[in-house]
Amino acid sequence: MKVAVSSTGPDLDSQIDPRFGRCSYFIIINPEDMAFEVYPNENASLGGGAGIQSAQFVASKGAQVVITGNCGPKAMKALEAAGIKVISNQTGTVREAIEQFKEGRLEPASGPGGP
């Protein structure tokens, strides 16, 4: 199982980036052993379509779950098509979010947030 978290920094103690498509980094984590990979988000400065591209990116990395602050309607549609669950409205550090996720305390979003 792989979880993609939108992050403001390149490590587990960084704060979650409130933006999905235009976050600074994607951290792809295996919650079982906390092994992770860090990817600077190259879509952050796109004129448009950043959410869609970011959804494609995390799908290509094999993520099955996304944890983020806000996920807009286009990114949500793309993530749904890829069969990826989205957990939004999250704050705090990446590590805290993964701990809560492991404890089963995070619920998938019922729909997209603002674009």
């Binding site: 796109l46 448009g48 379509g49 869609i52 799908a59 793309a78 069969g83």
Partner: protein, 283 residues
Amino acid sequence: MKGMIISVASGKGGTGKTTIATNLAVPLSEKAQLLDCDVEQPNAHLFLNPTFTHSVKVTVPVPHVDEKKCNLCGKCAEICQFKAIVVIGKSVLTFPDMCHSCGGCVEVCPEKAITERGREVGLIERGYADGLDFVHGRLRVGEAMSPPLIKKLRTYQDTSKATIIDAPPGTSCPVIAAMKGTDFVLLVTEPTPFGLYDLKLAAGAVRILGIPCGIIINRSDLGDNRVKEFADEEGIPVLLEIPFDRRIAEIYSRGELIVEVMPEWKERFLGLYESITRIANRD
């Protein structure tokens, strides 16, 4: 003789584009046509009260994918510069509001799985106001892209008449769509720091398009002298100044035209049209 096409533009909003466009067009009456290309907020009709006799929906082509034929090769997504079509997981998704209708995805699809369907972007209405041919566009509420509607609106140009185009404010794509290919641009500004700043941007855009232009200073007795200094430096003629006059503001607020209530202004606007014709023919 081919009629002149004059676009009325401004960097800053609210400087008086519609005031100029309507008061310039009305005295020319049946010899002119007015196209309100400010399709996000068309308002020239409020001053002209035309009777609309023609109304047509405008659509743009967007891709429709036959999932039965699609093999998820991703060539469509590769060519799309706007991420309007993507292959993700086991499906191909389209985002019609991001599509710029280039048709690239249709061309490159090896399975011929993509066809084009119309997406409504707005409405064009045409009618007459006392002999003046009037056409405007109304962008669909929520629609992000106005240039396709503006370009369609421009196809209504009647070359036998003087065409006055009321452009949207700013200097981005919608403005370029309204100004491009016109014979002359009237830049309407006001003598304030905001007016000057945005005038410089607009004049820069006009220069790139290579269209002769002139400046109109509205509320000309306010603010400072820097717009005139800029005009001098750039060699752009100031063709008309409209003072900050309470009577003019009242006329506007009642939805009337200055040229109809204050006859001396009819002469001034006819003179403005002559100046433009002279400059455009010289260049």
